[in-house]
């Protein structure tokens, strides 16, 4: 006891410091631990806190294969054409819900008005690759009704205006359809050389009148 009494005053400062350091260590360490434990409910900094939630979103674009399971002829025709790389949903919009019984959800519309959707890709535009098929729409065909001639699913011009008169044993088309002829070629028509008319207009069965 005597020893302690004589020892205590000389060591009092050191003991105070030591006790302070010990208590501070426990308090700070405990606070940090508690804070990290509370924060951990939001996930760790390095982990993937909500990747699971991102991965759980529902796709809206269903893909060509899903479309083809019902619309087989269109997909088959397209796969045989230069539009093979064009997804159905590029023009028709996302297909999720289209197969549902709910009428509102079933609706699929073009992403652009019909008169504009072809020129979105095929109008001559600065910046497009030179080899890419582009037309000056107004010069190509006045009115821009692409679908009068072109079937977008096969791209070939398989739907020309019907020829409403017999064609057999007649002279070249241009004989009557030249300027000032019996019926002029529409002014917006693509410039054509003689004898190529039937490459488009001959694809349909000749109607008989």
């Amino acid at each position: 006891m005597r020893q302690l009494r004589s020892w205590l005053p000389t060591r009092l400062t050191a003991i105070k410091v030591a006790v302070f350091v010990a208590i501070a260590s426990i308090v700070l360490g405990g606070t940090a631990f508690a804070a990290a434990t509370l924060y951990a409910q939001y996930g760790a900094v390095k982990n993937v806190p909500n990747a699971e939630a991102w991965a759980a979103l529902e796709p809206r674009y269903v893909g060509q294969a899903a479309c083809g399971s019902c619309h087989e002829p269109e997909v088959a025709a397209q796969d045989a054409s230069a539009h093979i790389d064009v997804s159905c949903e590029s023009c028709h919009g996302p297909g999720a819900g289209h197969s549902l019984s709910d009428e509102a959800a079933r609706e699929v519309s073009l992403t652009e008005p019909e008169s504009e959707i072809c020129s979105t890709c095929h109008a001559t535009t600065a910046g497009r690759p030179a080899t890419y098929p582009q037309v000056e729409v107004d010069e190509h065909y006045e009115g821009g009704e692409c679908l009068r001639c072109h079937d977008p699913h096969s791209i070939v011009a398989v739907r020309p205006p019907d020829i409403t008169h017999p064609r057999a044993k007649l002279p070249d088309c241009i004989t009557c359809h030249a300027p000032d002829g019996l019926k002029e070629i529409p002014s917006g028509h693509e410039p054509v050389a003689d004898r190529v008319c039937l490459s488009c207009h001959g694809r349909v069965a000749e109607p008989v009148r």
């Binding site: 501070a24 260590s25 360490g29 940090a32 760790a44 390095k46």
Partner: protein
């Protein structure tokens, strides 16, 4: 093996003095001249000294241990709480990459349409996860960039210009843009709350519950790929006011589907796949054609590569 010499019998080294440096120094701490402080380096460490040291050291060590445990949990998370990205999907098995072919892009904007529809991105072109720029380069080296409405409606038809401001046009092409999913990403580095992070398969995502909408990441991104979702608009996950950007359509790629923009591109100008798989569309293109990345000098290591693009400064 030399025999161990007790400390106080050793010959004094050059830095050691057998006596205290000066009597005055010893007297300041209550010692007679020549007397050593007890308990230190003299082979007479008392039990009390050991106990005293222990009384201080144990709580200190315990405190330090708690701090390190807390730090580890803060950074690496509770190991028991780590969750897989999805039951159907192993994130560690992929290294997703993207190739944009500017030689093929026709600037139709269908990718932008598809992205907005798929991900619920606001209509306003100010908010875009992907957009299409047109770069017109003239002989004097100037690159003029335009991107009307982010390219969502395509570009105004017209013949390619041959001259701009008296300088002949040497190149005109469309450059689709999206998040580069940088391997060395400034956005994740600056986020003060750890809300934006990189998945093991290489996609940078945002935790909308952590994001405080401060916009640091929006400013830090050298590619302008981020925006803050405006009020009254919903992100796909339903929280306005937080940062948003391209996720490579994480919900699609983890389900084996291509991103919506890749699905919608009519000319195959956007390719996507696993950089570790030599048969993936991106690997095939990158093996066949030279590719560049945007702003390579920044060292961000983008996962999006470009075909047909000269190394140029892209704003």
């Amino acid at each position: 093996m030399s025999e161990r010499t007790p400390l106080d019998q050793r010959a004094p080294g050059p830095m050691e003095s057998p006596e205290p440096a000066s009597p005055a120094l010893g007297s300041e701490i209550g010692l007679e001249a020549g007397e050593r402080p007890p308990g230190f380096l003299d082979g007479r460490v008392s039990r009390r000294t050991v106990l005293q040291a222990g009384v201080v050291a144990v709580p200190c060590l315990a405190g330090a241990g708690l701090v390190f445990t807390a730090l580890d949990r803060f950074v690496n998370g509770d190991p028991a709480g780590a969750e897989p990205v999805a039951a159907r999907y192993d994130a560690s098995g992929h290294r997703w990459g993207f190739v944009v072919d500017t030689d093929s892009c026709v600037g139709c904007g269908m990718c932008v349409v598809a992205c907005k529809a798929e991900n619920g991105v606001p209509e306003d072109p100010e908010y875009s996860r992907t957009w299409v720029e047109r770069h017109i380069t003239t002989a004097d080296g100037t690159v003029r960039v335009d991107s009307p409405e982010g390219g969502i409606d395509g570009f105004e038809p017209g013949d390619p210009p041959t001259m701009v401001d008296g300088s002949p046009v040497v190149d005109a092409r469309f450059v689709p843009r999206l998040c580069m999913q940088c391997e060395n990403s400034p956005c994740t580095a600056v986020c003060p709350v750890g809300a934006t992070y990189r998945t093991p398969d290489g996609v940078i995502l945002i935790d909308e519950e952590r994001c405080i909408g401060c916009g640091y990441c929006v400013v830090a991104c050298p590619y302008g790929a981020r925006y803050i979702v405006p009020a009254a608009e919903d992100t796909p996950r339903g929280v306005p006011g937080v940062a948003d950007k391209c996720t490579f359509c994480y919900h699609r790629i983890t389900a084996g589907l291509p991103p919506a923009c890749v699905e919608a591109c009519p000319v195959g100008a956007r390719r996507y796949g696993d950089l570790d798989d030599p048969t993936s569309p991106v690997s095939v293109v990158m093996a066949e054609q030279p590719t560049t990345v945007l702003k390579e000098e920044l060292g961000t290591k983008p996962r999006v590569h470009y075909v047909g693009l000269e190394a140029e400064v892209v704003s």
